[in-house]
Symmetry: D2
Subunit: 314 residues, 4 copies
């Protein structure tokens, strides 16, 4: 921090970062008639000796955000995109090691998955080819931070909507003067999973995790834990999801969830002479707002928490 | 239309409709341990003898939008939801036949698909169960209109993003003083499909189409035609998609598409000494705006067009 | 329409249009130290002799959407932007008159308003200068259609949210088996105005309306009518808004509204020993979905309706 | 933190919080014929002795999110809404002091401003009345955190879009192998301000700041600094905005900005024989993505930074 001299009071520059956000890069590789696609939205944030640009508008230490964007596209060509995490590592290393004033780089990636469009009957499931449909389910996330010495990699996902139509209860809670909620012994439990998980890996000489297979396992563990937990609260489900991720994936030290409780309210149909309970056929109103929001971190014992508390802005 | 007497000029009420929009109804049915889910967002629009409510605020002929909402939820319980189209038919018939002043009802439905979360190894693909993950790909659409005599059913989808990484060219177009575009002999072709298709069925004594299987076939035909067409323009691809739908699905008389051209521009990497062409590994910038927008209707010969021209508002 | 010969069934091309959507053009003009800004989002849709591009991928009659985009930017420089409507007229005339195969052009514009940032004490409310803050209230809309002979101009706005905290009732409506709504004698009435109004002007020799002042008047008339109407239903308020627009603006022949009823529900605070009525201080829950949706056209007597029924897609 | 005993590895619960998000409360007060409106979207997040709910699903210490929602609405009636900050303080104090297990509360508020609709000629600018139009410019933000001892109040805003059409340059930056950007000596500088500022006030016996007038001053200072700074980089403009806020508002100790550089690119019109420079009339393409993103904190000397680094998620 640098003190900027003004009469009174003195004003100080604090943490700062800058870069190009949302470089949407698509890389197509051709393996004969079979093509492969990687679809990433990359955001760069750089920090370093940048007081002068803030205080005096001197850009001598400033690598333009336009250049960071060019680097994203050029690296996709030069180095390929093995995974979002690998690509983030390449970029972060480049910015920190090639520019003296840049001391820290953080690369954030959103990745969109694509499935192949199966060809029709005529030529069977043949070559696979060059036609894709965007899967459109969760958005995969990766964040790589490098300060010249240590690496931090946080992977994640958002927009994954899940629902259990039974095996969820909620009762035994505090009742105060403002409580009107009825206890529930068989309710719908639904949420839109936003999760971030931090890897223990901090750089050489340790071997990098296998990012792609790790992602698939962590995602599957979260889904399994959601589906298999008989839930007495969304917090309990969250914790089961987190502890399954930690206990089954040695490479992950910490996971944080932000789980909106997507309320499905049983509609009161009594005025129309209809019973509506969580029995053979139940009708729910899927509400928008307000919604419960449950957030927590689950850690490997001994690990230090490193993921910020707020994954969303509400 | 009714003339509302004012000194000068006389003002007239034209087409009008009203109802509750976006009733988000989820119905869970239990078949032993195997549950089923239908997730619909239903909008009701009613027309009829409604001049007095507009001109004088007399609500004597007005069924409140709140009541139309209640009806949606009650019908989900009473009649179930066989398909979005069936549910729309039930609702439209009810409003038109039960309320004298209501002469026409239009029910619009958005449907969100859910997949089962497969259980882990322990008990195999067993019972199926009660855990779901939202598919998150296209949104299915249905619109049912009934005026007491004739039915019109239009199904559709939106948000289905597809991409061909080759077999697309664009050349031989008009060049004028404002043309700078280079001709392309191997480009990426990507779009977000918004489609509506109208059924020939207009009511009894004709048998209703099998809405669910029809949807699956039409969707598959569109995807196949997109994938298999060697494209010289997005218009050609659109027409192939439409004509395949019409020629393979007897129940469909008309289909309209709104296809934004999701431009994937080859990044110019020459300044960095890198060649970047549509060869073994190409890097594209996926652009947002502006975008080409291609819209057209394809009809069965002899059919009269009934789908409005603008599926989006731009 | 052209019949595309296939064995069976024959398939026909219907209405079609294409062009570049959402060209976001900002024009800054300098009048000494005082600058002016026009901020438009322009979408072009062209129709004409375009069968061959659909059926055979022949682009000989196709002016690329990229060229239509270039034309938007070039025209902003060459001709300036007097108003959204004037700019649309220039573009539509150009496309139809300069390209034989193009028989019809429709230009849609969204316009974003900017206010000046008032300078501080030093030089008073002086010259105004070059600093702006986006107003962020309604989005202004304009649509110009030209087929080589006749012009149609439709102006409009969206996203204008208004609220009356009293002088609104709703009672005397139909009650059926699904009605639970209580009658209301003093409620909040709020809506987000989406409106389109069509001008009588259809081209020379008639003089063009003064588009900018007309917009301001129509907008003010709608707001005044909303504020001044003692409302027995949102339909009545809509009609008062529309008839005021028609009766006070000779240049406008038709106006259509899509008015979502932004429900503000009095919260039931009785469980907490609190009365909550529409009296000195009332607390409302502002709900999202579902919402009533009221849509209607109001016409000058003798005018033919020309605005499509659906301004939104629900 | 509590160790949850599992064979291996041990898993630990970290930071956690929960509550009801986005309670949209509107309060109308009547001062004779003149009404007043407060329109807040309130999110509650509580922390405390909540291990058991996570580990075992025991809700004994859990105040349901539904109750926190009820409290928001009831407090709006009981205590009124003096300001977003005052309302947050009331709620935070209540949750922490009334429930033993709740040790910390954070209340976040979004506030939407409304203007009066001026009545027409008949009765002048008179009483004001009961008709409002949503201003629709920035969204005001407030966050109150209380742990039973200390208060932290952070106010803010988002969505405030500003533009200088001159007095902005960018040159003298690092050039590396990936740099193609041309230096600019007269460019458009535009951004969408997202800001948060932290008050020094931490509770009694110190007097609370006057939240409403403080907001107006801080907002005006930011706008003035943006307008009056001759900018050599967006970082410099940010710093001027921040230092003006700190130096002119004694109650504020820290401010953080997230400023996307809303690029306005001069369109290359040379292919059409048109010059287009930042002179008397210039045409820009307002780009969407990617965009520069400039973020920094500015502090009063001696103050400790307390605002998280990421105001957005990219």
């Amino acid at each position: 921090m640098t003190v900027h001299s003004r009469p009174a009071p003195a004003v100080v520059l604090g943490q700062n970062q800058y870069g190009k956000a949302e470089c949407h890069v698509v890389r197509i590789t051709r393996d004969g008639a079979t093509h492969h696609i990687k679809d990433l939205n990359v955001s760069v944030a750089l920090s370093g000796d940048l007081e002068d640009v803030h205080l005096f508008g001197s850009n001598a230490n400033c690598l333009p955000t336009d250049t960071t964007k060019n680097t994203v596209y050029a690296f996709a060509k030069q180095h390929g995109i093995e995974s979002a995490e690998d690509f983030g590592i390449l970029l972060a290393r480049h910015f920190v090691t090639s520019q003296g004033p840049i001391k820290r780089a953080r690369i954030r990636v959103e990745e969109y998955a694509w499935d192949r469009i199966a060809r029709g009957n005529e030529d069977g499931g043949g070559a696979g080819g060059h036609s894709f449909v965007r899967r459109g389910q969760e958005t995969r996330l990766a964040q790589v931070t490098f300060d010249g010495e240590r690496w931090q990699v946080v992977s994640g996902l958002k927009d994954l909507v899940v629902l259990n139509s039974t095996d969820s209860e909620f009762w035994g809670y505090i009742k105060d003067a403002y409580t009107t909620l009825e206890e529930a012994y068989d309710r719908v439990l639904a949420t839109e999973v936003s999760a971030r998980w931090r890897f223990g890996w901090s750089g050489e000489p340790h071997r990098e995790p296998a990012w792609e297979s790790s992602y698939r396992r962590v995602r599957a563990d979260m889904l399994q834990a959601f589906a298999e937990t008989y839930s007495l609260s969304l917090q309990q489900t969250l914790y089961e999801m987190g502890s399954r991720v930690i206990s089954r994936n040695d490479e992950v030290d910490e996971v944080r969830f932000s789980l909106p409780n997507k309320h499905h309210f049983l509609v009161d149909l009594e005025p129309f002479g209809l019973e509506n309970g969580a029995d053979d056929a139940a009708v729910y109103h899927a509400a928008d707002r307000p919604y419960g929001l449950i957030e927590a971190t689950v850690l490997r014992e001994g690990a230090e928490a490193g993921i910020p508390h707020d994954l969303t802005n509400l």
